[in-house]
Symmetry: C2
Subunit: 205 residues, 2 copies
DNA sequence: GTCTATAATTTGATAGAC
DNA sequence: GTCTATCAAATTATAGAC
C-alpha cells in the first residue's frame, strides 16, 4: 500500500499537512517562505515537518502537486480544455499565495535541470500542452479555427499567456488574467479562413 | 554631474562593472548567483563590488537596467513597437543567463511591494504596455485590426506571451519564443472585421 | 512521530587597514 | 578605491532524546 518515494512516511498525515499548507500559503501568502515558517503555520516544528518531506523543494513541490490535484477534482473532466484552463486561471485570482509559489518555483525549477521539481514541470507542461493542442485541433476539425494554424504553437501561446499574466496580475491585482486568455481564443476563432496560419517555417518548436 | 542615488560612487567604473557583469551573466548563466560569485567573475572582492551598489538586489536590478539600455540602443527607435518586441525576444534566445535573471527577479520584485526593484518593474511594464497599445491602436486606425478589440488588453497579451514563453523556453531551448508572439499578432490582424472584440465587460484590466 | 539541539554552511553587509 | 577580516543572521538538514 505504500507509495513510491514516501514509504513509511505516514501518508494520511502527509496529506493532512499538505491540505493545511495549501490553505496557509493561500491565506498568508508566500514570500520565499522558509520551512520553519510553514512548520509554525501547520503546527509542527521544522524538524517535525521535514520528517514528511525529504527537502524544502520537495515540500513546496508537493504543495503545488496538491494544488493541481484539487484543481483537477474541482474541474469538469468532460469540459473543453480551454474552458478548464479559464476556470483554473479564474480560481487562481483568488489564491495569490499559490500564484506566487507557482511563479517562483516554476522559474527556479525550469531554469535548473538539477532542481527536484524539474521533471515534474517537464511532465506538467507536456501534459497541459498536449491537452490544449487537442482542443485546438478539435476546433480545427469543426472548421472553427483555421487549419493552417499550428495547433501546438497556439497551445503554447495559451499556456504562455496564463503564466505571463501572473506577473502582470501580481503587479496589479485588478488585471483580469482570464480575459487575456479569452481574447487570444476569440481571435483564433475569429480568424478562421483568413490565412492567419501562413508562415515561413512549419516546425512547431 | 553626480547622478541621483549614485553620488560619489565612481560612475564610469560602475558602468564598466555593469558591462562586464552583463557579459558574465550572459555567458556563465545565472543560477540564483551570489554577490560573491559575481564579484569573482568581474575581478573584484565581494566588498569591492558592493562598494558600487547598495545591496544585492540593487546590483542585479542595475544589470537588468543595463540590459534594457543595451537593447534600446541596439534597436531601431522608429520601428513598430511589435517589431521591436520581436527583435528583443529573438535576441533573448541568445542570452539564457539574462532571461533567467529577468524571470526570477521579475517574480521576486513584482510579488513583493517592498522589493528594491518593484517600482522599476511597475514603470517598465507601464511603459512597454503603453507603447504596445499605441501600436495596436495605430493598426486599428489603419483598419488592420478590429476596432472592437481592447488595445490595452491585446498589449497585455503580447507582454504575457513574451514573459510566459521564457519558462517554456527554459524547459526546452528549441522552443521559438518569437514565433508565439508572431502567431498572436497574425491572429489579431487576420481577425479584422470578424467581431473578435465582442465581450461582456468593457473594462481594460 | 515529534521535539530539542545543533551541525554545517552560506550569505549579505560592514569595519577598517592600506 | 579595493581588499582582508569578520559579523550577524538565517537556513536546511540531521542526530538523538522522549
Amino acid at each position: 500500500m505504500t507509495r513510491r518515494g514516501s514509504y513509511a512516511k505516514g501518508i494520511a498525515k502527509r496529506e493532512e499537512i499538505l491540505a493545511t499548507a495549501l490553505e496557509v500559503v493561500d491565506r498568508a501568502g508566500f514570500r520565499g517562505a522558509s520551512v520553519r515558517e510553514l512548520a509554525d503555520a501547520v503546527g509542527l516544528s521544522q524538524a517535525g515537518l521535514l520528517h514528511y518531506f525529504d527537502s524544502k523543494e520537495e515540500l513546496f513541490t508537493a504543495i503545488l502537486r496538491k494544488r493541481d490535484e484539487v484543481d483537477t477534482s474541482r474541474t469538469d473532466p468532460g469540459a473543453d480544455m480551454v474552458e478548464t484552463l479559464l476556470d483554473v486561471v479564474r480560481h487562481n485570482a483568488e489564491t495569490p499565495g499559490l500564484v506566487q509559489l507557482f511563479a517562483s518555483t516554476s522559474v527556479a525549477a525550469t531554469s535548473d535541470v538539477g532542481h527536484p521539481a524539474h521533471d515534474w514541470f517537464v511532465d506538467r507542461y507536456a501534459n497541459v500542452l498536449a491537452h490544449l493542442a487537442g482542443a485546438v485541433r478539435a476546433r480545427q476539425d469543426a472548421g472553427e479555427i483555421d487549419p493552417a494554424v499550428d495547433a501546438d504553437r497556439l497551445a503554447r501561446v495559451l499556456v504562455a499567456v496564463s503564466d505571463g499574466m501572473q506577473v502582470q496580475w501580481m503587479l496589479d491585482p485588478e488585471v483580469d488574467m482570464a480575459a487575456s486568455i479569452e481574447l487570444v481564443w476569440r481571435l483564433a476563432l475569429a480568424a478562421v479562413g483568413s490565412g492567419a496560419g501562413a508562415t515561413g517555417a512549419s516546425g512547431t518548436a
